[in-house]
Subunit: 442 residues, 2 copies
């Protein structure tokens, strides 16, 4: 395999970061303008701002609002090189990675590839459910929802129409809760205006959670509030409800109950993306890679892991940290400091997670928050929380503009975003790759 | 085939409009709040604002900015019913249409289905070229451009890198001219910042036009200005250049010249979408349907055609009107008046096209305009022209906001829109339709 082109061999120590999510992007920014050569690799050419996927899915924001082109972020950073590529394998002995663009030797390798949807081995669910772990999946969900309403309109049997209108969310974490709230508001405020011929009293939004409470990563108070708020919005919330099967229409719970919906969103679990050459050596539960207190992958030299993919036991977190952005961001900051310390010959410092609070939104006006020392509700809490996450990933100049843009678009979103843009159904042959692309439904 | 559901049979005279482009949408708005029942059908659930496709293609605007949900436009119009469906066939004797949602009887049928890309029978070009007649095709073009630059970065041979960087536009009408200008500006101002490792002096933007001048629908003065401006921007303009073949890399002109590019955009001709049950009877050159001075389709009763699909000989236009938005808009206004006159028992009035001028943009600061009586240049002319088209399709309240949004996004677009959002590569089975969707490259 040839080497990736145009990465200078200039004597600088090379840090290769795989993954431009919260953790990888933060680390790359930490190391910009240092003596390191940083190579950032991601399969997309943009960072995806996950906390707002649910808004794209419910037509509240355009996809491009939450996708930040990585090249733009590092335009002025001469020591940071970006490549859009897939990681194929790592040879930790040779200290070399193999990607879809070629091979590359590293001095330090940082894995920040995150996690993907976990179907727990259920092939039916994997085939028929809609995941939501990327912007394009959020777009797909949005299009599916819109398409189903057009179909509902063509059913004379109210029960069949309801099958198209119902939406089931599986997983009571922030993703499921936020989607359920947004969809419930669509049902009561927006959809009846767009589809006056449909009877929305027939439509149900369901939220199924396998454990005994929603938002199990937050306080019991937050869980209870979330459930109450969602029920007020009309969501049918079922805890201790495990989805056993789904055939594209019929949802079967473990306790035997059955429900019908053509739209089931699966946000019930995550699993780390396996990395050939690494996972075989270091993977723990959920595919997460075992790291020490310096985020170094156990059993390997010069390989680190941060973010959702890392499994680290420290302090109160003997079962690993929650897989949330904050953890990855803090790990990236400490690893960045440590890599700089290495250059200066200083000792490295250990990582200790400081939980600065969590927040989940339920509809446009409600948020539940565990923010230590601060009592804050609703919209203000939500904006602050977004801002904190935004600060971590883009430059100062942009943050204010982006935040204003989000708030403006979100509040005025009623008009423009319920569009079902799908690729034209035709074949297209990309001669360069000799691959025939069937441009089908998105 | 069952009837389309939920369209009331309430004694109102039913006007069925096929196509929610400029002409169909304008007519539907004309007939809103009249005694007619209007059924508007389009295969998409949104109107696509064609004049700004080239901005989506060059990452200057988000797709949703130029896609207006049709349901939203008619939310408050109780007599207008929208259905997202494909027209399959028309039975003009029974006065019935057959669609993907079912059948429907009409009292008046208006065909406003427009035109699509014409490859003039060249199967190679159809397979390898990129068209640009819809928002989704504009997105596809944008993604192709971005993907090609990532590939160029991985070529060590400068000639091969150039093959990925070059872009060829075929067709010197407004589409080709506008794309060429925007791409030339991307080449000089934006791309070198995003791809510092690439040598953009190797990149060429070509514009090939088969006739002897660009913008042949405009004045000779406009043609000459456009050519000069484009050449100043660095575009290689060739008139009397007919593309004979394209194999995905090599472009062969009729005169034997050859060029290399993995990106060829075909905007060299249009052909009407055939309508089963109508085209066999009434199609003329280019598939356009022959209509009389009342836009009634010749040889049929109660069937009308407006916009690009109509072929009408009147006044100075004995070879049919130019296929531009203005014509369709004016025909829609007159047909709307005529349909109202029918209700009042009045005579119909004939159509006479008034050319209010045309405009094409070349890059951010240049426009060529033939605006009778008005001497105007550049940005102001462009904004006015956009506004005039916008006025025709959306309500007053929205126009200002949309226009401001476009201008703002366009001028600040440098940062956020160079994102290559493609669907996740996996299979997804839609049980409802029992179709397996291969979510491939968009």
């Amino acid at each position: 395999m040839d080497t990736i082109k145009h990465i200078p061999e200039n004597g600088k120590t090379r840090v290769v970061i795989i993954g431009g999510g919260f953790a990888g992007l933060k680390l790359a920014r930490q190391l910009a303008n240092t003596k390191y050569q940083v190579v950032l690799i991601d399969r997309n050419n943009f960072h995806q701002f996950q906390p707002l996927f649910y808004q794209v899915a419910t037509s509240g924001l355009e996809p491009s609002s939450i996708a930040f082109p990585l090249r733009k972020i590092f335009q002025k950073r001469k020591n940071v090189h970006f490549r859009m590529a897939d990681l194929l394998e790592v040879d930790s002995n040779k200290q070399e990675i193999y990607t879809s663009l070629g091979s590359l030797k590293y001095d330090h390798l940082v894995l920040a590839t995150g996690v993907d949807t976990n179907y727990f081995g259920n092939k039916n669910i994997e085939e028929f459910a809609i995941p939501m772990k990327s912007v394009s999946e959020a777009i797909f969900l949005r299009n599916s929802i819109l398409r189903n309403y057009e179909k509902a309109l063509n059913e004379s049997d109210p029960q069949k129409a309801a099958n198209y209108m119902n939406i089931v969310l599986v997983g009571g974490g922030p993703t499921g809760v936020e989607l359920a709230g947004a969809l419930a508001e669509m049902k009561s405020k927006i959809l009846p205006k767009d589809y006056p011929e449909l009877d929305f009293s027939l439509m149900n939004v369901y939220l199924f959670e396998a454990s005994n409470r929603l938002l199990s990563g937050m306080s019991e108070n937050a869980s209870a509030k979330a459930k109450t708020y969602l029920q007020k919005l009309g969501v049918i919330v079922k805890t201790e409800a495990m989805v056993a099967d789904y055939d594209g229409l019929k949802i079967s719970l473990a306790n035997g109950e059955e429900f019908n919906s053509y739209a089931l969103v699966w946000a019930a679990g995550v699993v780390a993306n396996p990395i050939k050459g690494i996972s075989e050596i270091a993977a723990a539960r959920g595919g997460r890679l075992r790291v020490d207190l310096y985020n170094k992958v156990k059993g390997l030299t010069n390989v680190y892991a941060i973010g959702d993919i890392a499994f680290q036991q420290e302090g109160d977190f003997q079962n690993g940290h929650p897989q949330v952005a904050q953890v990855g961001l803090q790990q990236a900051v400490v690893l960045g400091k440590n890599l700089k310390r290495i250059l200066l010959g200083k000792d490295m410092i250990t990582f200790h997670y400081k939980d600065r609070g969590s927040l989940a939104t339920i509809g446009k006006n409600l948020a539940v928050a565990d923010l230590p020392g601060i009592k804050m509700q609703g919209f203000i809490a939500w904006v602050l929380w977004l801002f904190v996450h935004l600060m971590a990933i883009v430059g100062v100049k942009n943050r204010f503009f982006i935040l204003v843009n989000w708030i403006w678009n979100y509040w005025t979103s009623d008009q423009s975003l319920r569009v079902l843009i799908r690729p034209k159904k035709r074949s297209f042959t990309d001669r360069a790759s000799k691959k025939k692309h069937q441009i089908g439904i998105n």
